[in-house]
Symmetry: C2
Subunit: 135 residues, 2 copies
Amino acid sequence: MNIGRHLIIECQGQHAHLSEKELERLLVSAAKAGSASVLQAYFHPFGTGKGITGVVLLAESHMTVHTWPEHNYAAFDVFMCGDCRPLRAADVITSACAGAVTSVQAIDRGLPFNAMTLSADFPTYHTQFDPLYVG
Amino acid sequence: MNIGRHLIIECQGQHAHLSEKELERLLVSAAKAGSASVLQAYFHPFGTGKGITGVVLLAESHMTVHTWPEHNYAAFDVFMCGDCRPLRAADVITSACAGAVTSVQAIDRGLPFNAMTLSADFPTYHTQFDPLYVG
């Protein structure tokens, strides 16, 4: 029984330097692209030059972002259940900043418990991992 | 550069039937066990007999839960950066309900991008996956 797909999205580049408002707009756009409904959005900036942490709670699970501008790194996740299209949401996120190096890994949530896989159907600009993990 | 550890936690059993308040108490306890600081907690119940979705945003990233009582299934994740102890938080979550079947997978977030691994240092009651993924 597959409940939904949980995507782990890594971004190196400009994503790490987006403002609180830009990140909120990006995640809300991504939710829309994935056909998900936003219940609540909450973003917290840690101060000038520091990172931002945020969550968009969905009727179909959640999306989060945490940024480390000092490391040029942003960590996203997208978990959508039901008939949503989480990979479309991920595509909005990874393509938001030109020149970013991005990676998407997917885990199918539900029963029986599933191990992590790469999203083979995802655009080719994401980083490839060790083939051991491709499954 | 390792930023933090992101745990994917699957639970089959009583976790799926906890109330909104019980889930909030559980996640706040787990945050404390992991030495993390709660910024905001938001929980949304979908109605009698239906699931609950919730997030605890941390100064050190986030924890979420989504339950499907009709499937006896609850999906958690714990992402903690810095000096936090996410496996201690996971231990609080997985041990909260007697008889539950649980699984914890870990991904180390940061640069370079890392693939998913099992948490070899986690208690033995979690489900084992295909050894291909143990790394």
